[in-house]
């Protein structure tokens, strides 16, 4: 097989048609007549992390709360290190974007007075099983937006430090697309599959975050020299055992407490309850020999049980199937919980592109939104909408008066040569599956995965760094037999780039700020005197170089200067 190049042009290219990407496209169409291409690796109807649906909107300013409260909560939960400007600008938009998606057809629970019914201080209840089809349907009605499904974007095209487009290949025909654009919005999501997952072989992909979110956006940015932030704040989710289904629905929905095998409620023994402490306390109870740990559901009513069955069918159907096929629902038996492998995901924690307040990255013409954008944890679905909207508005402003810049012929030829090399490589000893397994084993053992209780130290990170670099060299010798295999090779290369940056970040923060997420055995205490700052990085000349930056406050308008 040999990919032939084909040139296409657009005003704005959106890479990834998930939550943020679709909302960005809708916003551009509302505010301009710019031509837009959404390049999507799968099909926007069910792509990204919302494929199965979502059970609640977890970022909403409910009655009696304010955007300021939202910022305070998020900042405390993240132990003080967030981009306040980013979190606050999202918080101000949460309710407006929620109304917009309700108008598109999302069902939101209301009381008799027509007010949304809240679940706690920041959440509202929905039927989100079809949230992606709703978004995809809205996008399909936009005359200036072209969706190209099954198009895998692999790298940005730059000229004089400015973005001028991206390269991608089709999963159906032997074509390497050279897309020229005045601006690019990256909305590819976060990265799963870096670490050895909970389930072995056959069910290895039964993970919380989408296994098809492979960190492509991060990796493309890293290779292009974009500044990244806070990769060391990994996200580790507390999940139902085996199915890796969410636990918040049970914990918040019916108020179930976390208990150990002795029936003791243990979370309160580990300080103020925070997202990372819920996880940390469970790890510690297991290490003390007090596992398995559970959410205490036994004794709930039959009606509550039926409601849970339905809630899980709308987002994680494997959990309902598991309850029913084992003949023991949550009313009869407590739900066992465990921690997942670590993910890099900017919608939950703060890893991702270092962006200004308008969502511009450090590369001129490149914007980022959603899970791929850093600095603002707990944005969830509605925060991704809000950020998609802001990136879109900024990109529309940027392209005014700009013309399309064509890439240099020799650059295109070089890229085509590099891509086609995977078809002409000799079949060697190793397959892409072996490289992926090796990467996950290294990260698990040496960079704080499940088997090491999420703990790492500098000596281990040095081993991880060396071995990940070796794997990256091996991966360029892999052979692809078809377009799907070519995609898998690019995915593993992207993950290795993300791992390399992650390892540098883990080693750079010489304290422990977020238990389990970033558990540095060399520096087990939180150190506010030295580490109330962001750990950022930039990749140049083959090395990840760390940059430390001061905290940005709520009313600051942050602009990239150096």
């Amino acid at each position: 097989m040999n990919l032939k190049t084909k040139n296409i042009e657009t005003d704005i290219l959106i890479v990834g048609g998930g939550t943020a990407g679709c909302f960005a496209a809708i916003t551009i169409a509302e505010n301009s007549d710019a031509k837009v291409i959404i390049a999507e690796k799968a099909n926007i109807k069910r792509s990204g992390c919302l494929a199965a649906g979502v059970n609640a909107l977890n970022a909403y300013i409910v009655k009696g709360q304010t955007p300021e409260n939202y910022l305070t909560y998020t900042k405390n939960d993240a132990e003080g290190v967030v981009r306040e400007d980013l979190v606050y600008t999202i918080a101000q938009k949460l309710n407006q974007v929620t109304k917009k998606v309700e108008d598109l057809g999302l069902v939101i629970l209301k009381d008799e007075a027509g007010e949304y019914v809240s679940r706690g201080n920041r959440n509202i209840k929905i039927n989100g099983e079809n949230i992606k089809p709703i978004l995809a349907d809205a996008v399909s009605k936009l005359p200036n937006v072209t969706v190209i499904n099954r198009m895998n974007i692999i790298d940005y095209i730059l000229k004089a430090g400015k973005i001028i487009g991206a390269y991608g290949f089709s999963l159906d025909t032997a074509v390497l697309y050279v897309i020229s654009a005045k601006a690019v919005i990256c909305t590819t999501g976060g990265a799963a599959g870096l670490y050895k997952p909970n389930n072995p072989g056959f069910s290895k992909h039964k993970m919380w975050y989408s296994p098809f979110n492979t960190g492509a956006g991060y990796a493309m940015g890293i290779r292009a020299g974009a500044e990244m932030t806070t990769f060391e704040m990994r996200f580790i989710a507390l999940r139902c055992k085996d199915t890796i289904a969410p636990t918040g629905t049970i914990a918040q929905g019916i108020g179930a407490q976390q208990t150990n095998s002795k029936g003791e409620e243990y979370e309160k023994n580990y300080g103020i309850p925070k997202t990372s402490i819920r996880m940390y306390s469970t790890v510690m109870e297991n290490q003390k020999g007090k596992g398995p740990c559970y959410l205490q559901t036994a004794g709930i009513s039959q009606e509550q049980e039926q409601d849970l069955y339905k809630a899980y069918l709308n987002m994680a159907p494997a959990q309902t199937l598991s309850w029913l096929e084992n003949g023991k629902g949550p009313a009869n038996e407590n739900v066992e919980i465990e921690g997942t492998e670590p993910y890099i995901v900017g919608g939950h924690t703060a890893s991702g592109y270092w962006i200004d307040t308008n969502r511009a990255t450090t590369i001129q013409g490149l914007y980022a939104a959603g899970d791929v954008a850093g600095g603002s944890p707990q944005k969830y679905v509605t925060g991704c909408f809000a950020e998609g909207e802001m990136a879109a508005v900024a990109a529309v402003a940027y392209i005014q008066g700009k013309a399309i810049t064509s890439p240099e012929m020799q650059d295109v030829e070089r890229k085509a040569g590099a891509v086609n090399a995977f078809f002409t490589n000799e079949q060697g000893l190793y397959t892409v599956e072996q490289i992926e397994e090796a990467m996950q084993k290294i990260m698990d053992e040496y960079a704080g995965g499940i088997s090491s209780g999420y703990v790492f130290n500098l000596s281990k990170l040095q081993v991880a760094k060396r071995q990940i670099k070796d794997l990256l060299q091996l991966s360029y010798k892999l052979k692809a037999h078809d377009l799907h295999e070519l995609m898998l090779i690019y995915e593993v290369i992207d993950r290795l780039y993300v791992c390399d940056t992650l390892i540098q970040h883990l080693g750079a923060r010489k304290e422990t700020r977020w238990h389990t997420f970033q558990e540095n055995a060399d520096y087990p205490e939180r150190d506010d005197a030295n580490w109330l700052k962001y750990v950022n990085s930039r990749f140049s000349e083959g090395e990840v170089k760390i940059i430390l930056r001061d905290l940005v406050k709520k009313d600051d308008i942050y602009e990239h200067k150096d």
């Binding site: 099954r150 992909h205 199915t243 918040q252 494997a318």
Partner: protein
């Protein structure tokens, strides 16, 4: 975690192939759909909900405690029926009205 496709029920319409977020489904020489990469399945049920012919059976791997049950779905206007079939053939049906939000 994966799916099994009943080739006797599959009509080869291809709707499931279009939506799979992992591009894991392919057309076999007879024009039917096959799951080409069963271990890569995330378990999102996107394909199951596209199939109007009950041809896709969604099941838990033995490594997840699966014991031989499977599920499929049936759309009926605003209703989505989830049908869970036990190894002895007995069925349980859970019906979700798409117009209603979750209780939790």
């Amino acid at each position: 975690m994966s799916i099994k496709i009943d080739i006797h029920k599959c009509t080869g319409c291809g709707k499931c192939r279009e939506v799979c977020p992992g591009s894991l489904l392919a057309e076999d020489p007879a024009g039917k759909t096959q799951i080409k990469y069963p271990k890569e399945c995330w378990g999102c049920t996107s394909c199951v909900k596209e199939c109007n012919f009950n041809a896709i059976q969604y099941y838990l791997g033995a490594d997840m405690g699966g014991k031989g049950s499977y599920l499929y779905t049936k759309q009926e206007g605003q209703l989505l029926h989830w049908i869970i079939v036990a190894p002895d053939g007995s069925k349980q049906i859970l019906t979700i009205d798409k117009r209603q939000a979750n209780a939790y």
